[in-house]
């Protein structure tokens, strides 16, 4: 019968050694298969890279335990992280269950001040230089940070910061207080037991999702082969699409893991459709709170409809006006330009838009990719 493999990870520091040994014995006593460098992993022959072997062991484990004390560990300059941090990254990347404990004092110092200082420093660096600070730069900053006590290695703060950005909870490791490992692993078993009976449901959902994707593919392949009659009522047609475009939050990403909610937009409250007719874009229909302008000259640079048309046959663009407090998502398909109006949340102004323009575009386009593809295909197939 397969046993649960548990990788025990930490920096090799004296304060953590008794704890590592104790956890190893408890896990062994419970019938699991703990993996730990000083017990059953190393040392390997000199021709084998110990870091790579440790990372392989992390991959082969079912559960990854990380203990953080006051030492940062061996910094691998080529990787830009410590060996322990590499193990943590590998565990997360491979989708392992990750449990983290940190020395209670270290954790309290981090969350009471250093976390926010580091956030500010990173946001400032990103704004100034357009890129995330290099690890050595961040370590220099942390060395000069007044909130950081000298007896704790600055790399510990970088590791905790990464853990926090990934949304992983850090448990307290209080010195002199025995952790109830048996209770902890019983709780893990309980959580697994809740999910295991759902296996058929999860598998079924995956199958249905694949079928839906296959159907969408078929539709996308067939629609360009047919000519469609225009709908009896374009207003109803537009409104059917508009109703499906929801409001959402807008998140800004800092690097790969860090993200921040920077605003929102409301559900689409209007839509319009124009079609090229000679030298102008002629009004076809609108719905919701859109006003009808009969036509725009193709060279009218004040019109988002004419501007989008001029960008090419498959152009799409998100526009913003501060006076109207709206985002306009324009999509061109052949001779048509469809526009969807999203009221911007109250926090938006020009400066905010300029700062977060890419996040705004991703937040509006990203959740609607399939819908927009379908709209394009339908418009593209309409009889002239």
């Amino acid at each position: 019968m397969a046993k649960a493999r548990v990788f025990i990870s930490s920096v090799n520091e004296d304060g953590l050694k008794p704890l590592r040994r104790s956890v190893f014995r408890v896990l062994e006593g419970l019938g699991h298969e703990p993996l730990m460098w000083e017990e059953n992993l190393g040392p390997w022959p000199s021709y084998q890279n110990p870091v790579e072997k440790c990372l392989e062991a992390v991959e082969q484990s079912d559960l990854y335990l990380l203990f953080i004390g006051t030492r940062g560990g061996t910094f691998d300059a080529a990787a830009g992280v410590t060996v322990t941090h590499s193990e943590f990254i590998r565990a997360v990347d491979k989708g392992k269950t990750v449990l983290v404990w940190a020395d209670a004092e270290t954790k309290a110092i981090f969350f009471s001040g250093i976390a926010w200082k580091l956030d500010e420093y990173i946001a400032h660096t990103v704004q100034e230089s357009g890129s995330y600070p290099a690890p050595m730069q961040a370590l220099d900053f942390l060395r000069s940070c007044q909130e950081a006590p000298p007896h704790i290695d600055p790399y510990v703060w970088l590791l905790l910061h990464d853990i926090r950005q990934r949304g992983i909870y850090v448990e307290d490791l209080a010195r002199g207080v025995e952790t109830d490992w048996r209770g902890y692993f019983s709780d893990l078993l309980r959580r697994g037991l809740l999910l295991l009976p759902l296996e058929p449901t999860i598998a079924e959902n995956s199958n249905r999702l694949e079928e839906a994707e296959t159907s969408f593919d078929l539709l996308a392949a067939l629609l360009p082969q047919v000519t469609l009659e225009p709908p009896h009522d374009w207003k109803v047609w537009l409104n059917t699409i508009r109703e499906r475009l929801q409001g959402r939050t807008i998140e800004h990403r800092y690097g790969r893991w860090n993200r921040e909610t920077v605003g929102s937009y409301e559900a689409c409250n209007a839509a319009s459709l124009y079609r090229r007719d000679g030298d102008s874009m002629r009004f076809i229909s609108c719905c919701g709170r859109a006003s009808a302008v009969r036509s725009f000259a193709l060279n009218d640079q004040s019109s988002y409809i004419a501007l989008t048309y001029a960008m090419g046959p498959r152009a799409e663009q998100v526009y913003y006006t501060e006076s109207g407090q709206k985002f306009f998502y324009c999509v061109r398909s052949g001779p048509f330009v469809a526009t969807f109006h999203f009221p911007a949340g109250s926090s938006w102004d020009q400066l905010r838009y300029i700062r977060y323009k890419d996040s705004v575009v991703s937040a509006i386009i990203g959740p609607n990719t399939r819908l927009v593809k379908l709209v394009r295909l339908l418009l593209g197939g309409m009889r002239a």
Partner: protein, 62 residues
């Protein structure tokens, strides 16, 4: 049209520099189209389904 912020005001489009009139139309060409994003989403979806199936097979193996 290169990346950056563009503005349509007084009937002309130009690269935006500094604050613009409140009724100006701002836009920023984006590196990713909805088609690019759709491909990314589909690729992620397939990987997720594969991971779920692998894990379910491991979890229910005796």
């Amino acid at each position: 049209m290169k990346n950056g912020i563009w503005v349509s005001k007084n009937g002309r489009v130009s690269e935006a520099s500094g604050l613009q009139p409140r009724d100006a139309l701002l836009f920023a060409p984006h590196g990713m189209t909805s088609e690019d994003l759709l491909q990314e989403q589909r690729s992620a979806l397939q990987q997720n389904i594969k991971l779920i199936r692998t894990r379910l097979a491991e979890a229910t193996r005796r």
